[in-house]
Protein backbone atom coordinates (compact mmCIF):
# COMPACT_ATOMS: atom_id res chain seq x y z
CA UNK A 1 0.00 0.00 0.00
CA UNK A 2 2.88 2.37 0.73
CA UNK A 3 4.19 1.96 -2.80
CA UNK A 4 1.04 3.26 -4.53
CA UNK A 5 0.86 6.11 -2.01
CA UNK A 6 4.44 7.12 -2.78
CA UNK A 7 3.70 6.83 -6.51
CA UNK A 8 0.67 9.08 -6.10
CA UNK A 9 2.91 11.67 -4.40
CA UNK A 10 5.36 11.29 -7.29
CA UNK A 11 2.58 12.09 -9.77
CA UNK A 12 1.58 15.20 -7.81
CA UNK A 13 5.22 16.30 -7.87
CA UNK A 14 5.28 15.94 -11.66
CA UNK A 15 2.50 18.48 -11.98
CA UNK A 16 3.61 20.76 -9.13
CA UNK A 17 7.14 22.21 -9.44
CA UNK A 18 6.78 23.69 -5.96
CA UNK A 19 6.87 20.37 -4.14
CA UNK A 20 9.39 18.28 -2.25
CA UNK A 21 9.71 14.72 -1.01
CA UNK A 22 11.55 14.08 2.26
CA UNK A 23 12.65 10.84 3.85
CA UNK A 24 14.43 10.12 7.10
CA UNK A 25 16.81 7.58 5.58
CA UNK A 26 13.99 5.13 4.84
CA UNK A 27 12.15 4.06 1.73
CA UNK A 28 14.70 1.66 0.23
CA UNK A 29 13.25 0.22 -2.99
CA UNK A 30 10.26 2.57 -2.74
CA UNK A 31 11.33 6.15 -3.33
CA UNK A 32 14.20 5.83 -5.82
CA UNK A 33 12.08 6.88 -8.82
CA UNK A 34 11.33 10.22 -7.17
CA UNK A 35 14.98 10.74 -6.30
CA UNK A 36 16.03 10.03 -9.88
CA UNK A 37 13.49 12.33 -11.48
CA UNK A 38 13.76 15.15 -8.94
CA UNK A 39 17.25 15.07 -7.41
CA UNK A 40 16.82 18.65 -6.16
CA UNK A 41 13.39 18.09 -4.69
CA UNK A 42 14.11 14.78 -3.02
CA UNK A 43 15.86 15.14 0.31
CA UNK A 44 17.13 12.39 2.55
CA UNK A 45 17.65 14.32 5.78
CA UNK A 46 19.38 11.41 7.49
CA UNK A 47 18.15 9.57 10.56
CA UNK A 48 16.90 12.80 12.11
CA UNK A 49 13.14 12.97 12.33
CA UNK A 50 12.84 16.19 14.34
CA UNK A 51 14.98 17.93 11.76
CA UNK A 52 12.97 16.28 8.98
CA UNK A 53 9.68 17.78 10.16
CA UNK A 54 11.33 21.15 10.79
CA UNK A 55 12.81 21.18 7.29
CA UNK A 56 9.44 20.19 5.85
CA UNK A 57 7.91 23.14 7.71
CA UNK A 58 10.54 25.51 6.33
CA UNK A 59 9.93 24.30 2.77
CA UNK A 60 6.15 24.59 3.19
CA UNK A 61 6.48 27.99 4.84
CA UNK A 62 7.85 29.23 1.54
CA UNK A 63 4.85 27.93 -0.39
CA UNK A 64 5.80 24.37 -1.25
CA UNK A 65 3.75 21.21 -0.94
CA UNK A 66 5.90 18.77 0.98
CA UNK A 67 5.59 14.99 1.28
CA UNK A 68 7.35 13.28 4.15
CA UNK A 69 7.69 9.51 4.23
CA UNK A 70 8.67 7.30 7.13
CA UNK A 71 7.58 4.38 9.27
CA UNK A 72 4.75 5.61 11.50
CA UNK A 73 6.43 5.65 14.95
CA UNK A 74 9.41 7.57 13.56
CA UNK A 75 7.14 9.85 11.54
CA UNK A 76 4.57 10.73 14.19
CA UNK A 77 5.90 9.91 17.65
CA UNK A 78 9.59 10.85 17.62
CA UNK A 79 8.88 14.36 16.21
CA UNK A 80 5.38 14.86 17.60
CA UNK A 81 6.02 18.31 18.96
CA UNK A 82 7.47 19.44 15.63
CA UNK A 83 4.26 18.22 13.98
CA UNK A 84 2.21 20.12 16.52
CA UNK A 85 4.15 23.40 16.53
CA UNK A 86 5.77 23.58 13.12
CA UNK A 87 3.09 21.96 10.94
CA UNK A 88 -0.30 22.15 12.64
CA UNK A 89 0.06 25.42 14.53
CA UNK A 90 1.31 27.10 11.33
CA UNK A 91 -1.21 25.12 9.24
CA UNK A 92 1.32 24.18 6.56
CA UNK A 93 0.91 22.04 3.43
CA UNK A 94 2.77 18.94 4.51
CA UNK A 95 1.58 15.42 3.77
CA UNK A 96 2.89 12.85 6.24
CA UNK A 97 2.93 9.45 4.57
CA UNK A 98 3.16 6.83 7.27
CA UNK A 99 3.96 3.20 6.54
CA UNK A 100 3.05 0.32 8.78
CA UNK A 101 -0.33 1.08 10.35
CA UNK A 102 -1.15 -1.41 13.09
CA UNK A 103 0.92 -4.62 12.90
CA UNK A 104 1.91 -4.23 9.27
CA UNK A 105 5.59 -4.54 10.13
CA UNK A 106 5.08 -8.07 11.46
CA UNK A 107 8.24 -9.61 12.87
CA UNK A 108 9.81 -6.22 13.50
CA UNK A 109 7.68 -6.07 16.62
CA UNK A 110 6.32 -3.42 18.97
CA UNK A 111 8.91 -0.71 18.22
CA UNK A 112 7.68 -0.73 14.60
CA UNK A 113 3.98 -1.23 15.27
CA UNK A 114 1.70 1.78 15.07
CA UNK A 115 -1.01 1.41 17.69
CA UNK A 116 -1.02 4.91 19.18
CA UNK A 117 -0.80 7.16 16.14
CA UNK A 118 -4.52 7.82 15.67
CA UNK A 119 -4.87 8.78 19.33
CA UNK A 120 -2.07 11.30 19.24
CA UNK A 121 -2.61 12.71 15.75
CA UNK A 122 -6.34 13.23 16.15
CA UNK A 123 -5.69 15.52 19.09
CA UNK A 124 -4.12 18.10 16.77
CA UNK A 125 -6.07 20.99 15.24
CA UNK A 126 -5.87 21.65 11.46
CA UNK A 127 -4.75 18.14 10.48
CA UNK A 128 -6.63 15.77 8.17
CA UNK A 129 -6.23 12.06 8.94
CA UNK A 130 -6.73 9.38 6.30
CA UNK A 131 -6.75 5.68 7.03
CA UNK A 132 -7.16 3.87 3.70
CA UNK A 133 -8.40 0.28 3.64
CA UNK A 134 -6.60 -0.66 0.46
CA UNK A 135 -4.46 0.65 -2.37
CA UNK A 136 -7.39 2.07 -4.33
CA UNK A 137 -8.45 4.16 -1.35
CA UNK A 138 -4.89 5.29 -0.67
CA UNK A 139 -4.69 6.67 -4.21
CA UNK A 140 -8.11 8.32 -3.95
CA UNK A 141 -7.03 10.01 -0.73
CA UNK A 142 -3.74 11.18 -2.20
CA UNK A 143 -5.76 12.72 -5.02
CA UNK A 144 -7.74 14.62 -2.39
CA UNK A 145 -4.50 15.53 -0.61
CA UNK A 146 -3.37 17.30 -3.75
CA UNK A 147 -6.01 19.97 -3.17
CA UNK A 148 -6.17 20.13 0.63
CA UNK A 149 -4.42 23.09 2.22
CA UNK A 150 -2.91 22.26 5.59
CA UNK A 151 -1.26 19.23 7.17
CA UNK A 152 -2.37 15.71 6.31
CA UNK A 153 -1.48 12.37 7.82
CA UNK A 154 -2.12 9.26 5.77
CA UNK A 155 -1.81 6.01 7.70
CA UNK A 156 -0.97 3.33 5.18
CA UNK A 157 -0.39 -0.36 5.74
CA UNK A 158 2.71 -2.26 4.79
CA UNK A 159 4.04 -3.80 1.62
CA UNK A 160 0.95 -5.93 1.15
CA UNK A 161 -2.70 -5.06 1.55
CA UNK A 162 -5.99 -6.79 0.85
CA UNK A 163 -7.81 -5.72 -2.25
CA UNK A 164 -11.20 -4.42 -1.20
CA UNK A 165 -12.21 -2.08 -4.00
CA UNK A 166 -12.08 -3.32 -7.60
CA UNK A 167 -12.30 0.16 -8.99
CA UNK A 168 -12.15 3.77 -7.88
CA UNK A 169 -15.22 5.28 -6.29
CA UNK A 170 -16.35 8.73 -5.27
CA UNK A 171 -14.55 8.94 -1.91
CA UNK A 172 -15.69 11.95 0.09
CA UNK A 173 -13.53 13.66 2.66
CA UNK A 174 -14.84 12.96 6.15
CA UNK A 175 -17.74 10.79 5.01
CA UNK A 176 -17.70 7.14 6.05
CA UNK A 177 -18.53 4.60 3.36
CA UNK A 178 -21.23 2.02 3.97
CA UNK A 179 -19.88 -1.23 2.56
CA UNK A 180 -23.06 -3.17 3.32
CA UNK A 181 -26.29 -2.27 5.05
CA UNK A 182 -27.17 -3.85 8.37
CA UNK A 183 -30.05 -4.03 10.81
CA UNK A 184 -29.36 -4.56 14.52
CA UNK A 185 -25.61 -4.95 14.30
CA UNK A 186 -23.01 -2.72 12.61
CA UNK A 187 -19.25 -2.94 12.42
CA UNK A 188 -17.31 0.29 11.96
CA UNK A 189 -13.75 -0.37 10.86
CA UNK A 190 -10.76 1.62 9.66
CA UNK A 191 -7.74 0.60 7.60
CA UNK A 192 -6.92 -2.75 5.98
CA UNK A 193 -8.55 -4.65 8.87
CA UNK A 194 -11.83 -3.64 7.17
CA UNK A 195 -11.35 -6.84 5.14
CA UNK A 196 -11.90 -8.91 8.31
CA UNK A 197 -15.14 -7.05 9.05
CA UNK A 198 -16.45 -7.68 5.54
CA UNK A 199 -15.55 -11.37 5.82
CA UNK A 200 -17.38 -11.63 9.15
CA UNK A 201 -20.47 -9.92 7.68
CA UNK A 202 -20.46 -12.38 4.79
CA UNK A 203 -20.44 -15.31 7.22
CA UNK A 204 -23.46 -13.87 9.03
CA UNK A 205 -25.18 -13.20 5.69
CA UNK A 206 -25.02 -16.92 4.96
CA UNK A 207 -27.27 -17.37 8.00
CA UNK A 208 -29.54 -14.52 6.81
CA UNK A 209 -28.27 -12.13 9.49
CA UNK A 210 -27.61 -8.69 8.06
CA UNK A 211 -24.57 -7.07 9.64
CA UNK A 212 -23.77 -3.56 8.47
CA UNK A 213 -20.19 -2.56 7.74
CA UNK A 214 -18.89 1.01 7.66
CA UNK A 215 -15.51 1.91 6.27
CA UNK A 216 -14.24 4.90 8.21
CA UNK A 217 -11.48 5.91 5.80
CA UNK A 218 -11.19 9.45 7.20
CA UNK A 219 -10.67 9.89 10.94
CA UNK A 220 -10.37 13.67 10.93
CA UNK A 221 -12.73 15.24 10.09
CA UNK A 222 -14.78 12.42 11.58
CA UNK A 223 -18.21 11.42 10.25
CA UNK A 224 -20.17 11.99 13.47
CA UNK A 225 -23.42 12.19 11.55
CA UNK A 226 -23.14 8.67 10.20
CA UNK A 227 -22.20 7.21 13.58
CA UNK A 228 -25.12 9.01 15.26
CA UNK A 229 -27.54 7.79 12.64
CA UNK A 230 -26.41 4.17 13.01
CA UNK A 231 -26.40 4.35 16.77
CA UNK A 232 -29.96 5.67 16.65
CA UNK A 233 -31.32 2.75 14.68
CA UNK A 234 -29.36 -0.32 15.79
CA UNK A 235 -28.68 -2.40 18.89
CA UNK A 236 -24.98 -3.08 18.72
CA UNK A 237 -22.02 -1.26 17.22
CA UNK A 238 -18.64 -2.96 17.05
CA UNK A 239 -15.60 -0.85 16.24
CA UNK A 240 -12.59 -2.56 14.72
CA UNK A 241 -9.09 -1.19 14.35
CA UNK A 242 -5.43 -2.11 14.43
CA UNK A 243 -4.75 0.36 17.21
CA UNK A 244 -4.88 0.49 20.97
CA UNK A 245 -8.46 0.63 22.19
CA UNK A 246 -7.72 3.90 23.98
CA UNK A 247 -7.89 6.94 21.76
CA UNK A 248 -8.52 5.43 18.35
CA UNK A 249 -11.58 4.76 16.20
CA UNK A 250 -13.42 3.11 19.11
CA UNK A 251 -12.94 6.22 21.22
CA UNK A 252 -14.10 8.47 18.39
CA UNK A 253 -17.28 6.41 18.00
CA UNK A 254 -17.80 6.25 21.78
CA UNK A 255 -17.62 10.02 22.02
CA UNK A 256 -20.33 10.45 19.42
CA UNK A 257 -22.54 7.78 21.01
CA UNK A 258 -22.15 9.28 24.48
CA UNK A 259 -23.29 12.65 23.22
CA UNK A 260 -26.02 11.43 20.92
CA UNK A 261 -28.02 9.12 23.20
CA UNK A 262 -28.56 6.45 20.57
CA UNK A 263 -30.05 3.03 21.22
CA UNK A 264 -27.00 0.93 20.44
CA UNK A 265 -24.44 -0.60 22.78
CA UNK A 266 -20.79 -0.35 21.87
CA UNK A 267 -18.03 -2.94 21.77
CA UNK A 268 -14.57 -1.67 20.91
CA UNK A 269 -12.26 -4.21 19.27
CA UNK A 270 -8.60 -3.30 19.10
CA UNK A 271 -5.45 -3.94 21.06
CA UNK A 272 -5.86 -3.93 24.80
CA UNK A 273 -3.55 -2.01 27.07
CA UNK A 274 -0.38 -4.05 26.53
CA UNK A 275 2.72 -4.33 24.35
CA UNK A 276 2.67 -7.44 22.22
CA UNK A 277 5.29 -10.02 23.19
CA UNK A 278 4.18 -12.67 20.70
CA UNK A 279 6.06 -13.03 17.44
CA UNK A 280 3.87 -12.54 14.39
CA UNK A 281 5.27 -12.71 10.89
CA UNK A 282 2.15 -11.17 9.36
CA UNK A 283 -0.60 -8.77 10.41
CA UNK A 284 -3.02 -11.59 9.63
CA UNK A 285 -1.46 -13.77 12.34
CA UNK A 286 -1.29 -10.88 14.83
CA UNK A 287 -5.01 -10.25 14.34
CA UNK A 288 -5.73 -13.94 14.84
CA UNK A 289 -3.96 -14.23 18.18
CA UNK A 290 -5.58 -11.01 19.39
CA UNK A 291 -9.05 -12.11 18.27
CA UNK A 292 -9.29 -9.32 15.72
CA UNK A 293 -9.72 -11.50 12.64
CA UNK A 294 -13.05 -12.48 11.06
CA UNK A 295 -13.38 -15.45 13.41
CA UNK A 296 -12.77 -13.29 16.45
CA UNK A 297 -15.31 -10.72 15.28
CA UNK A 298 -17.96 -13.38 14.63
CA UNK A 299 -17.40 -14.83 18.08
CA UNK A 300 -17.59 -11.42 19.72
CA UNK A 301 -20.85 -10.55 17.98
CA UNK A 302 -22.39 -13.95 18.81
CA UNK A 303 -21.52 -13.45 22.47
CA UNK A 304 -23.30 -10.12 22.48
CA UNK A 305 -26.29 -10.68 20.24
Amino acid sequence: MRQVTIEAAHKIMQSNPKSYFLVGDLGYHAVEAIEQEFPNRFINVGIAEQDMIGIAAGLALNGNKVFVYSIIPFLTMRPFEQIRNDLCYQNLDVVLIGAGGGFAYGVLGPTHFALEDIAIMRSLPNITIFSPADETEAVLQMNLAKHIKGPIYIRTGGRTAPKIFDKRYDLKLGKGKIMCEGEDVWIIATGPILGEAIEAAKEFAKKKIKIGVVNMHTLKPFDKKLVASISGKSKLIVTLEEHFIAGGLGSLVAEVMAEDHGTARLIRMGVDDRFMKEVATTDKYARKILGLDAMGIIQKIKENL
Binding site: I53, G54, I55, L59
Partner: protein, 268 residues
Protein backbone atom coordinates in the same frame (compact mmCIF):
# COMPACT_ATOMS: atom_id res chain seq x y z
CA UNK B 1 25.35 53.60 11.42
CA UNK B 2 26.45 53.01 14.99
CA UNK B 3 24.88 56.17 16.45
CA UNK B 4 21.67 55.70 14.51
CA UNK B 5 21.28 52.10 15.65
CA UNK B 6 22.17 52.95 19.23
CA UNK B 7 19.38 55.50 19.29
CA UNK B 8 16.91 53.04 17.81
CA UNK B 9 17.94 50.35 20.31
CA UNK B 10 17.32 52.83 23.11
CA UNK B 11 13.84 53.47 21.76
CA UNK B 12 13.13 49.76 21.32
CA UNK B 13 14.30 49.06 24.86
CA UNK B 14 12.06 51.81 26.20
CA UNK B 15 9.15 50.47 24.15
CA UNK B 16 9.81 46.98 25.50
CA UNK B 17 9.73 48.12 29.13
CA UNK B 18 6.61 50.19 28.45
CA UNK B 19 4.83 47.14 27.03
CA UNK B 20 5.46 44.95 30.09
CA UNK B 21 2.43 44.06 32.15
CA UNK B 22 3.56 44.60 35.78
CA UNK B 23 3.41 41.41 37.80
CA UNK B 24 2.54 39.34 34.72
CA UNK B 25 5.26 39.53 32.07
CA UNK B 26 8.29 37.21 32.34
CA UNK B 27 11.37 36.64 30.20
CA UNK B 28 12.39 40.25 30.60
CA UNK B 29 16.13 39.66 30.88
CA UNK B 30 16.27 37.38 27.84
CA UNK B 31 14.33 39.95 25.82
CA UNK B 32 16.45 42.95 26.83
CA UNK B 33 19.63 41.04 25.96
CA UNK B 34 18.80 40.74 22.26
CA UNK B 35 17.60 44.29 21.58
CA UNK B 36 20.82 45.29 19.81
CA UNK B 37 20.86 42.11 17.72
CA UNK B 38 17.27 42.61 16.58
CA UNK B 39 17.80 46.32 15.99
CA UNK B 40 20.81 45.55 13.81
CA UNK B 41 18.94 42.86 11.86
CA UNK B 42 15.77 44.86 11.19
CA UNK B 43 17.32 48.30 10.66
CA UNK B 44 20.53 47.37 8.88
CA UNK B 45 20.80 43.80 7.66
CA UNK B 46 17.56 42.07 6.70
CA UNK B 47 16.01 42.62 3.32
CA UNK B 48 12.43 43.13 4.52
CA UNK B 49 9.68 45.60 3.74
CA UNK B 50 7.28 46.58 6.55
CA UNK B 51 4.75 47.67 3.93
CA UNK B 52 4.88 44.24 2.33
CA UNK B 53 5.69 41.73 5.11
CA UNK B 54 5.15 38.77 2.76
CA UNK B 55 7.32 40.17 -0.04
CA UNK B 56 8.46 37.20 -2.11
CA UNK B 57 12.10 38.34 -2.17
CA UNK B 58 12.50 39.00 1.54
CA UNK B 59 15.02 37.47 3.90
CA UNK B 60 13.30 35.30 6.48
CA UNK B 61 14.13 35.71 10.14
CA UNK B 62 13.05 33.26 12.83
CA UNK B 63 13.23 33.97 16.53
CA UNK B 64 13.79 30.46 17.81
CA UNK B 65 13.97 31.66 21.41
CA UNK B 66 10.30 32.56 21.14
CA UNK B 67 10.09 33.51 24.82
CA UNK B 68 11.75 36.79 23.90
CA UNK B 69 8.73 37.62 21.75
CA UNK B 70 8.35 41.12 23.18
CA UNK B 71 11.81 42.07 21.93
CA UNK B 72 10.80 41.02 18.42
CA UNK B 73 7.36 42.64 18.61
CA UNK B 74 8.81 45.94 19.80
CA UNK B 75 11.46 45.90 17.09
CA UNK B 76 8.89 45.11 14.38
CA UNK B 77 6.59 47.88 15.63
CA UNK B 78 9.45 50.39 15.58
CA UNK B 79 10.38 49.24 12.08
CA UNK B 80 6.82 49.98 11.00
CA UNK B 81 5.34 46.51 10.62
CA UNK B 82 2.37 47.46 12.78
CA UNK B 83 1.07 50.29 14.93
CA UNK B 84 3.09 50.77 18.13
CA UNK B 85 -0.18 51.24 19.98
CA UNK B 86 -0.76 47.49 19.66
CA UNK B 87 2.15 46.95 22.06
CA UNK B 88 -0.17 48.17 24.79
CA UNK B 89 -2.05 44.87 24.46
CA UNK B 90 1.03 42.79 25.28
CA UNK B 91 0.35 40.14 27.94
CA UNK B 92 -3.12 41.65 28.55
CA UNK B 93 -6.43 39.76 28.63
CA UNK B 94 -7.84 39.96 25.13
CA UNK B 95 -4.67 41.72 23.91
CA UNK B 96 -3.03 41.29 20.54
CA UNK B 97 0.39 40.11 21.66
CA UNK B 98 1.12 37.02 23.75
CA UNK B 99 4.45 36.42 25.45
CA UNK B 100 5.80 34.03 22.81
CA UNK B 101 6.43 34.90 19.18
CA UNK B 102 3.40 34.21 17.00
CA UNK B 103 2.59 34.68 13.33
CA UNK B 104 -0.55 36.57 14.31
CA UNK B 105 1.85 39.52 14.46
CA UNK B 106 2.79 41.04 11.07
CA UNK B 107 6.43 40.32 10.27
CA UNK B 108 6.73 37.25 12.50
CA UNK B 109 7.61 34.33 10.22
CA UNK B 110 7.23 31.40 12.61
CA UNK B 111 5.34 30.88 15.86
CA UNK B 112 7.84 29.68 18.41
CA UNK B 113 8.04 28.99 22.11
CA UNK B 114 9.41 25.48 22.32
CA UNK B 115 13.18 25.46 21.92
CA UNK B 116 15.03 23.70 19.13
CA UNK B 117 12.47 24.35 16.40
CA UNK B 118 13.79 27.43 14.63
CA UNK B 119 17.03 26.11 13.15
CA UNK B 120 15.52 23.05 11.39
CA UNK B 121 12.78 25.25 9.90
CA UNK B 122 15.38 27.81 8.80
CA UNK B 123 17.35 24.97 7.21
CA UNK B 124 14.23 24.04 5.21
CA UNK B 125 13.88 27.63 4.03
CA UNK B 126 17.56 27.77 3.09
CA UNK B 127 17.25 24.57 1.06
CA UNK B 128 14.35 26.03 -0.89
CA UNK B 129 16.09 29.38 -1.48
CA UNK B 130 19.11 27.50 -2.77
CA UNK B 131 17.10 25.14 -4.96
CA UNK B 132 15.33 28.07 -6.57
CA UNK B 133 18.63 29.97 -7.00
CA UNK B 134 17.29 32.81 -4.88
CA UNK B 135 19.52 35.30 -3.09
CA UNK B 136 17.27 35.22 -0.04
CA UNK B 137 18.69 34.25 3.34
CA UNK B 138 17.33 32.32 6.32
CA UNK B 139 18.46 33.83 9.61
CA UNK B 140 17.65 32.42 12.99
CA UNK B 141 18.31 33.75 16.48
CA UNK B 142 18.57 31.17 19.22
CA UNK B 143 19.86 30.99 22.77
CA UNK B 144 22.97 29.26 24.06
CA UNK B 145 20.91 27.09 26.42
CA UNK B 146 18.79 26.08 23.47
CA UNK B 147 21.78 24.27 22.01
CA UNK B 148 21.05 21.47 24.51
CA UNK B 149 18.23 20.43 22.16
CA UNK B 150 19.27 17.56 19.89
CA UNK B 151 17.15 18.84 17.03
CA UNK B 152 19.59 21.74 16.63
CA UNK B 153 22.49 19.37 16.16
CA UNK B 154 20.50 17.43 13.58
CA UNK B 155 20.04 20.71 11.71
CA UNK B 156 23.69 21.71 12.22
CA UNK B 157 24.80 18.41 10.65
CA UNK B 158 22.32 18.88 7.82
CA UNK B 159 23.32 22.49 7.15
CA UNK B 160 27.01 21.60 7.10
CA UNK B 161 26.49 18.59 4.86
CA UNK B 162 24.36 20.50 2.35
CA UNK B 163 26.55 23.61 2.46
CA UNK B 164 23.69 25.99 3.18
CA UNK B 165 25.70 29.18 2.76
CA UNK B 166 22.50 31.20 2.89
CA UNK B 167 21.79 30.07 6.45
CA UNK B 168 22.93 32.17 9.42
CA UNK B 169 22.35 31.10 13.02
CA UNK B 170 22.94 33.71 15.69
CA UNK B 171 23.44 32.40 19.20
CA UNK B 172 22.50 34.77 22.02
CA UNK B 173 25.16 33.67 24.47
CA UNK B 174 24.00 35.20 27.72
CA UNK B 175 25.38 32.32 29.76
CA UNK B 176 22.16 31.42 31.51
CA UNK B 177 19.41 28.90 30.90
CA UNK B 178 16.22 27.84 32.64
CA UNK B 179 17.71 26.55 35.86
CA UNK B 180 21.03 28.31 36.15
CA UNK B 181 24.38 28.93 34.50
CA UNK B 182 24.78 27.28 31.12
CA UNK B 183 28.31 26.02 31.76
CA UNK B 184 27.11 24.35 34.99
CA UNK B 185 24.24 22.51 33.29
CA UNK B 186 25.57 21.29 29.95
CA UNK B 187 28.96 22.81 29.35
CA UNK B 188 29.35 23.11 25.60
CA UNK B 189 32.89 24.50 25.82
CA UNK B 190 33.62 26.37 22.63
CA UNK B 191 30.47 26.51 20.51
CA UNK B 192 32.53 27.97 17.65
CA UNK B 193 34.95 25.02 17.67
CA UNK B 194 32.09 22.57 17.78
CA UNK B 195 30.17 23.96 14.82
CA UNK B 196 33.35 24.40 12.78
CA UNK B 197 33.86 20.65 13.21
CA UNK B 198 30.37 20.24 11.75
CA UNK B 199 31.23 22.21 8.63
CA UNK B 200 30.14 25.69 9.62
CA UNK B 201 31.94 29.02 9.71
CA UNK B 202 31.80 30.62 13.13
CA UNK B 203 32.18 34.21 14.30
CA UNK B 204 32.43 35.37 17.90
CA UNK B 205 31.23 38.89 18.60
CA UNK B 206 29.92 41.19 21.29
CA UNK B 207 26.14 41.02 20.91
CA UNK B 208 25.71 44.66 21.86
CA UNK B 209 28.29 46.08 19.45
CA UNK B 210 26.86 47.11 16.10
CA UNK B 211 30.24 47.51 14.47
CA UNK B 212 31.11 43.90 15.25
CA UNK B 213 27.74 42.72 13.94
CA UNK B 214 28.31 44.60 10.70
CA UNK B 215 31.77 43.16 10.37
CA UNK B 216 30.56 39.59 10.91
CA UNK B 217 27.81 39.89 8.32
CA UNK B 218 30.19 41.53 5.87
CA UNK B 219 32.61 38.65 6.30
CA UNK B 220 29.77 36.16 5.80
CA UNK B 221 28.69 37.87 2.60
CA UNK B 222 32.25 38.00 1.27
CA UNK B 223 33.06 34.44 2.26
CA UNK B 224 33.56 31.94 -0.52
CA UNK B 225 33.62 28.95 1.83
CA UNK B 226 30.10 27.84 0.85
CA UNK B 227 29.38 27.00 4.48
CA UNK B 228 26.52 28.03 6.75
CA UNK B 229 27.47 30.54 9.42
CA UNK B 230 27.02 30.79 13.12
CA UNK B 231 27.49 34.07 14.94
CA UNK B 232 28.07 33.53 18.63
CA UNK B 233 27.06 36.80 20.20
CA UNK B 234 28.12 37.31 23.78
CA UNK B 235 25.32 39.22 25.47
CA UNK B 236 24.34 40.45 28.90
CA UNK B 237 21.00 39.19 30.10
CA UNK B 238 18.84 42.12 31.15
CA UNK B 239 21.10 44.53 29.26
CA UNK B 240 20.38 48.20 29.79
CA UNK B 241 18.53 47.93 33.10
CA UNK B 242 20.87 48.19 36.06
CA UNK B 243 18.76 46.02 38.38
CA UNK B 244 18.43 43.22 35.84
CA UNK B 245 21.78 43.14 34.08
CA UNK B 246 23.58 39.82 34.27
CA UNK B 247 20.97 38.41 36.63
CA UNK B 248 19.59 34.89 36.20
CA UNK B 249 16.32 35.83 37.93
CA UNK B 250 15.46 38.24 35.13
CA UNK B 251 14.36 35.17 33.16
CA UNK B 252 11.37 34.54 35.41
CA UNK B 253 10.70 37.53 37.58
CA UNK B 254 8.25 40.13 36.47
CA UNK B 255 8.55 43.71 37.64
CA UNK B 256 5.96 45.66 39.60
CA UNK B 257 4.50 49.00 38.53
CA UNK B 258 6.79 51.01 40.83
CA UNK B 259 9.91 49.37 39.41
CA UNK B 260 8.60 49.80 35.89
CA UNK B 261 7.99 53.52 36.49
CA UNK B 262 11.45 53.92 38.03
CA UNK B 263 13.10 52.21 35.05
CA UNK B 264 11.22 54.37 32.57
CA UNK B 265 12.13 57.53 34.47
CA UNK B 266 15.77 56.47 34.47
CA UNK B 267 15.61 55.85 30.72
CA UNK B 268 14.41 59.33 29.88
Amino acid sequence: MKDKLENIAKEVRRGLITALNPGISHHIGCSLGIVELLTYLYFEELHVDPNCPKDSERDMFILSKGHAGIALFTTLAHRGFFDRKLLEGYDQDGGFLPEHATTVVPGVELSTGSLGHGLPVAAGLAVDFMATKSKRRAIVLMSDGELDEGSNWEAIMFGGHRKLANLVAIVDKNGFQGYGVTTDIINLGSIADKVRMFGWDAYEIDGHDFTQMKLAFTQIKQSKSGKPSMIIAKTVKGKGIAGLEGKFESHYHSIDQTTKNAILTEMK
